[in-house]
């Protein structure tokens, strides 16, 4: 990581020793647990893969905690209400999700890592880096916003072409207003807007492979094959 993520001047931590634990600056953690996150667009199969990995880990006797994007008790209801009105601007949208993230980080992820558990996160701050930037929010601003996040032990990116993502989603439901990026005004047609919006997101994700050292997963391959690869790489990350 470039040094610019180190937002904590030493004079401050020296003066207030308590702050060290408050902002983590995308630092590596020293907790006994491990954090594995999956990323990718909707329909990339990442949730299915993570769920299979969870079962596998549990069947082997590991203690696993699962957490997903936009699920904190504190704020997820507010986000859902706000989305319903279709009137959120990108900055508010972005900050709302960061609040959800901060709350889950402090109340779920960190305590579980301290307790030595394996934490599996369905989406992490990279989701914001991809989506919010696709929404027109500044790249540096949103990276700074999540500067308090800790670096995961492994970040797995499920890479699919936009056509595949669109087809997988279309088979089950119509994309939502924000999911399709309708607030961004790319196209009045939800399907076309979704395709354009997801293309920008995929583009942002692709650029993050080297920036954050993602494990790139071939998400168009058969489920079982992907899972074998995922288990192999996750086992290495977990040291099991």
């Amino acid at each position: 990581m470039p040094r610019r993520y180190n937002y904590f001047p030493c004079r401050f931590t020296a003066r207030y020793p308590f702050v060290r634990k408050l902002m983590r600056l995308f630092q590596e953690h020293n907790y006994p647990g491990k954090l594995i996150v999956v990323e990718g667009v909707d329909g990339s199969g990442k949730s299915t893969q993570l769920s299979l990995l969870r079962n596998w880990l549990e069947s082997r006797g590991h203690s696993v905690i699962f957490t997903e994007w936009n699920s904190s008790k504190l704020i997820s209801k507010t986000i859902k209400q706000a989305k319903r009105s279709n009137s959120l601007i990108p900055v508010t949208f972005s900050i709302l999700h960061a609040t959800d993230f901060a709350d889950r980080l402090e109340n779920i992820i960190i305590p579980a890592l301290k307790a030595g558990l394996i934490v599996l996160a369905d989406r992490y701050c990279f989701t914001a880096f991809a989506r919010d930037v696709a929404r027109g929010v500044d790249k540096d601003w949103v990276r700074n916003l999540y500067g308090f996040a800790i670096r995961p032990n492994g970040a797995f990116y499920f890479q699919v072409p936009v056509e595949v993502s669109l087809q997988r989603i279309a088979n089950s439901r119509l994309p939502g207003f924000y999911e399709a990026g309708m607030d961004v005004g790319l196209s009045p047609d939800p399907k076309e807007s979704y395709q354009m919006f997801q293309s920008i997101i995929i583009n942002e994700y692709d650029k993050m492979i080297s920036e954050f050292g993602f494990h790139s997963m071939p998400a168009t391959r058969p489920i079982h094959e992907q899972q074998m690869l995922f288990r192999e790489q996750a086992a290495k990350v977990l040291g099991i």
Copy 2:
């Protein structure tokens, strides 16, 4: 303002012309209205002074909109609920207030400025810059967090020594848990903690006088005298 607040790369605004209005980078606005904000610690008398100014402006036929810290429909209830549990960490606390701010900026402040009204804000992003930093949140991080804010036409800082602030508050009520900075762990005694916490906040405010060009108000002087000065300086800012 230093250039580092300019978080918007041109290649982006060129590609997505709609983003220009989404992030404002603490830029000066070109709306026909005017934005006046008051800042200062609790008990500095800023709300009283702003209220008197409002009456005066209205009596002179000006259309005025008033907005205060932590009052957005979207999020203020969540903030109140979260505070009740006394378990918020500074980063979550900080982001929650930024959400409130973003929502009010977009739904109250900007529309009113567009309509040519005078907007009076009881606390602005500088409150976060003072309080959150006193809480141990990184100074640059929180300034970046509010990078979408627009620069007010006039920012009036009501400067009082901490003893005066403490005495004024003590006359009416005990300071709240977060107001006294009890979450920061400076002292187990609420009164002592409040005094220590407010001192740090005042120190942060004082440093911002030159950083943001505050109009410094002598808040220990008689109310009427202050108000005369406030009106005079506000009138200049408003060009009336």
